[in-house]
Amino acid sequence: MNPVRKQRLIVVLAVFLGLALATALAVYALRQNINLFFTPQQVVNGEAPVGTKMRVGGLVMEGSVVRDPDTLDVTFDVTDGKGTFTVHYQGILPDLFREGQGIVANGTLVSRERFEAEEVLAKHDETYMPPEVQDALEKAGHPGARKDAAGS
């Protein structure tokens, strides 16, 4: 390669790698702010500040959803296997809300065990399958089907 181009290539690549490194460090340093939500583990361990507005996320625990028959009040437990706390919400839940489903809730952490949600969003996973396939998996007792099928 011609020396002028070689030098240009080295300079351009050095600038690129330097900026990439700077960006990586910035994202790493700011990940607390870039992460959309606190996990149950962080809530239980005390990494999430009590009494401030924040988002939390995790899986709705099986069998923990309690709906008030007269109002829109609903409480459920959110877990990630390493920590669990209770979420209270008053309002209409998204269609995808189910037990075993991932959710992100926006609200206030009242204590390490209780979160008052103002908004509940449903996450959905990257798996797409038709209902018949789901039924077949459940009939065959496929271990993967059980978790997703709960509560629907």
Binding site: L36, P94, D95, L96, E126, M129, P131
Partner: protein
């Protein structure tokens, strides 16, 4: 193989040869892209099975994923063109840099809008400042930035050099878009289609998706070739072969 690629690179690096190539390819690339895209979309939107939880609303995936993947790949192509432009000062790389931006910006916008429309019935919100969504918005701004920078500087070579740097640096953001869902907590789910491992989408839903993606990429390629052909003509307007071409008609 390497020599063939090298010869291609040198031939397509000549504006005149590129013009002939684009002229020969475009008449069948346009219909091919539109037919493949139409097959993928009709199959996906009308014939693919419904999703177990999302019902019919998941079908917007057949627009959302082809648009997003096209926007990301287009930006990487623009970054490569930027590198070639900065190091080798190749004229055709400048042309490609300019030709790749507009349709890429459109695809990034389609991705954001279709994602918002999909987000409302599934997540329960049009928009969250989630790392994936935000970095995709930055991608749209990067595309717009490259376009604006090019039109802000009058001298095309100077303009290309400035835009090249922005295009190249923006590739870092493409990496963030791609891996944000793995490295950070996001509302957006992880990748469904994987090149090296099994995809987590049922085959009956996957094939129309792959066809729509191919159709969208070909449509992008056709748009880029058309824009690049026009740009070549405008840049080479004083050269002998363009004059001959114009007078010959």
């Amino acid at each position: 193989m390497w020599n063939t690629l090298k010869r291609w690179y040198h031939q397509l690096g000549s504006p005149r040869y590129f013009y002939r190539f684009a002229d020969a390819v475009l008449p069948w690339l346009w219909p091919l892209a539109l037919i493949i895209l139409a097959i993928g979309l009709v199959w996906g939107l009308a014939y693919a099975p419904v999703e177990r939880y999302q019902g019919d609303s998941y079908r917007i995936i057949y627009l959302h994923v082809p648009a997003s993947s096209g926007a990301l790949m287009g930006y990487i192509a623009m970054g490569v063109a930027g590198l070639v432009c900065l190091v080798w000062r190749m004229k055709m790389a400048e042309v490609m840099l300019k030709a790749l931006a507009p349709f890429g910006a459109v695809l990034a916008a389609v991705s954001l809008i279709s994602g918002a429309i999909w987000g409302k019935p599934t997540w329960g919100t049009y928009w969250q400042w989630d790392a994936r969504l935000t970095s995709m918005l930055i991608l749209l701004f990067m595309y717009l930035g490259v376009m604006v920078l090019q039109s802000a500087i009058r001298d095309p070579r100077q303009a290309a050099r400035a835009a090249s740097l922005l295009a190249l640096v923006g590739v870092i953001n493409v990496v963030i878009v791609k891996y944000s869902v793995e490295w950070l907590n996001t509302l957006h789910q992880g990748a469904t289609l994987n090149l090296f491992s099994e995809s987590s989408i049922n085959p009956a839903m996957k094939y129309p998706l792959l066809i729509s993606m191919l159709g969208m990429w070909l449509l992008y390629a056709a748009n880029v070739l058309m824009r690049a052909r026009a740009e070549v003509l405008s840049r080479e307007r004083r050269s002998g072969w363009v004059r001959k071409l114009v007078e010959g008609h």
